[in-house]
């Protein structure tokens, strides 16, 4: 159940997308996400979808696996679609009782739906092909200029990478504790909201205890290995742009130019 959430989970494969420098992927993804929101029109979405499909194809992540990442947002997606469809004013296409569906509403709903789906798929593709460590590494690099204004960039990146690393562990732990309490006759499903919330106490307390224990152990282990923050720290595998990264940047630029042209003139 809980395991369906793919965000922040790495999909092991050997592909050109996996091998790209994480900075390239991070910047590329950001450009992509921004492009989805600045421009509209059917042709823009066709271009954006094809670009994403190409990347998914290159990444060797099975398409069905990508689609699974949409499951958690299915509800939000439906909700947005319905709201947009029913509450946008314009030329009436169809009307029944209090509901009217307008041409503009349909268009708006379609645009929103496309955006959301591409948004999630796009960002999922990045997290599926980049390990959390490399991702935070990239963020640290890209945020370096902020050091000038005394932002603790390294510490933020370290906290993020630890948090990301622990998400799957905590999810698994939750699953395990829930099962253990179910075996003791717990019931998480029946009853009203208050009863349901109360039934989570036997899950949350052990979960917190275990999270604190893990945090404590990790802190000890880091200190035992003389970790003392970012100052003077070198990297085992420093990030380095390769030829394929320049090709990738070039393709992102082409894509962006394409979208701008199509958005403006089509």
């Amino acid at each position: 159940m809980i395991r369906d959430i793919t965000l922040g989970q790495y999909y092991q494969a050997d592909s050109v997308i996996h091998r790209l420098d994480p900075r390239t992927k991070l910047v590329g993804t950001m450009v992509y996400l921004v492009s989805l929101f600045i421009f509209t029109g059917p042709w823009v979405f066709v271009t954006a979808a094809s670009f994403l499909l190409l990347c998914v194809f290159l990444s060797r992540v099975p398409f069905s696996y990508m689609l699974k990442g949409l499951k958690p947002i299915l509800f939000i997606l439906m909700f947005t679609l319905v709201i947009n469809m029913l509450f946008t004013k314009g030329t009436v296409l169809f009307s029944w009782w209090k509901f009217t569906i307008t041409e503009e509403g349909l268009k708006q709903a379609g645009a929103m739906g496309f955006r959301l789906v591409l948004l999630i798929l796009g960002s999922n593709l990045m997290t599926l092909t980049t390990t959390p460590t490399r991702l935070t590494n990239a963020m640290e690099h890209l945020m370096r200029p902020l050091k000038l204004i005394r932002v603790p960039v390294h510490e933020i990146a370290m906290m993020m990478s630890i948090a990301l690393r622990f998400i799957p562990i905590l999810l698994e732990e939750t699953d395990r504790i829930m099962k253990a309490q179910l075996a003791r006759g717990a019931d998480f499903e029946s009853g009203n909201l208050i009863k349901k919330t109360k039934s989570l106490v036997p899950v949350l307390i052990p979960l917190f205890i275990s999270a604190f224990r893990r945090a404590n152990d990790l802190a000890m282990a880091m200190e035992a290995r003389c970790y003392h923050g970012g100052k003077g720290r070198t990297q085992y595998k420093p990030l380095k742009y390769k030829g394929r990264d320049f090709v990738a940047y070039f393709m992102v630029i082409i894509y962006l130019a394409g979208v701008i042209l199509i958005g403006k003139f089509l």
Partner: protein, 284 residues
């Protein structure tokens, strides 16, 4: 009534179905449990033991195949699975990580309360269960978090026992205990079976744990049941067991070496006591 308490019928189960990591954790597993048995479920880490025992209390649903408890299909739509978990008690691996209450007594009465007992009955059941696992009276009002590792584990076992299960399934109950704690715990489990007739399924990856106590051993490897027989019978396959990353109990090796050295002992004696007698007899 049916002689078989529980029947597992051709269970197949796969984690992460449809993804790259998919692998069958249970591959056509069938067996029966009779009342009053003491079964040792043995297998190397990752052989599917925990997956199997979670099926027994309907925490996982098989992709195909099913389980019957006292003749009723537990995966049937309106089967009362909560009640089942009272009758088939499952103690998870490292159960001390599931504790959450302020006192041992309220911790242990959580299960019986879930089974629908009122506060008083639940506490009586809890009281009895804490006694059954051999904890001292001083523990009752202590926080379970202040106890030692071995004691915590007993509290967790008591919290399942308090529901008065007919079958008690323990997933690697001795993991992480020191040798003394391990012996004590195994003795306690044996006593539960002898004095109260509870059917026991003891999961372990160590033959030495179960050789002494089980009267039947099920060996799993890569999601399949390889052997399901009496201990003596299973331990005859030492070479095959070793190929699966398991070993026969140590006594078995000692006796075999003695025999090889020309001392006429019966190599089928597997418990410490039987082996001792066998050696004394041979030397006399």
């Amino acid at each position: 009534m049916n002689e078989y308490k529980l029947i597992a019928d051709h269970l197949i189960y796969e984690y992460n179905k449809g993804s790259a990591q998919a692998r069958k954790a249970l591959d056509d597993v069938s067996f029966v449990l009779r009342g009053g048995e003491f079964v040792g479920l043995i297998g190397h880490t990752g052989s599917g033991k925990s997956t199997l025992v979670q099926h027994l209390v309907a925490l996982l649903k098989p992709d195909s195949g099913t389980i019957y408890y006292e003749g009723a299909d537990i995966f049937e739509k309106d089967y009362n699975r909560k009640a089942l978990r009272g009758k088939v008690g499952l103690v998870f691996q490292y159960p001390e990580y599931q504790l959450f209450e302020e006192t041992v007594l309220s911790e242990v009465s959580y299960g019986p309360k879930n089974m629908g007992m009122d506060k008083k009955d639940a506490e009586l059941a809890a009281y009895a269960a804490i006694k059954r696992v051999g904890l001292e009276d001083e523990c009752f009002d202590q926080s379970p978090f202040d106890l030692s590792g071995g004691q915590k584990r007993r509290v967790a076992i008591a919290s399942v026992l308090a529901m008065n299960p007919e079958i008690l399934v323990l997933d690697e109950p001795t993991a992480g205990l020191d040798p003394a704690g391990r012996t004590e715990l195994l003795d306690m489990i044996t006593e539960l079976k002898e004095t109260e007739g509870i059917t026991i399924v003891l999961v372990s990856h160590s033959m030495d744990d179960v050789a002494e106590v089980a009267n039947r051993i099920i060996v799993m490897d890569k999601g399949k049941i390889v052997y399901d027989a009496e201990p003596v019978e299973v331990f005859r396959h030492t070479a095959e067991l070793e190929a699966m990353g398991l070993a026969a109990p140590q006594m078995s090796y000692v006796l075999r070496d003695l025999k090889a050295a020309g001392i006429d002992v019966n190599v089928d004696a597997i418990t410490l006591k039987a082996a001792k007698e066998e050696i004394l007899r041979a030397l006399a």
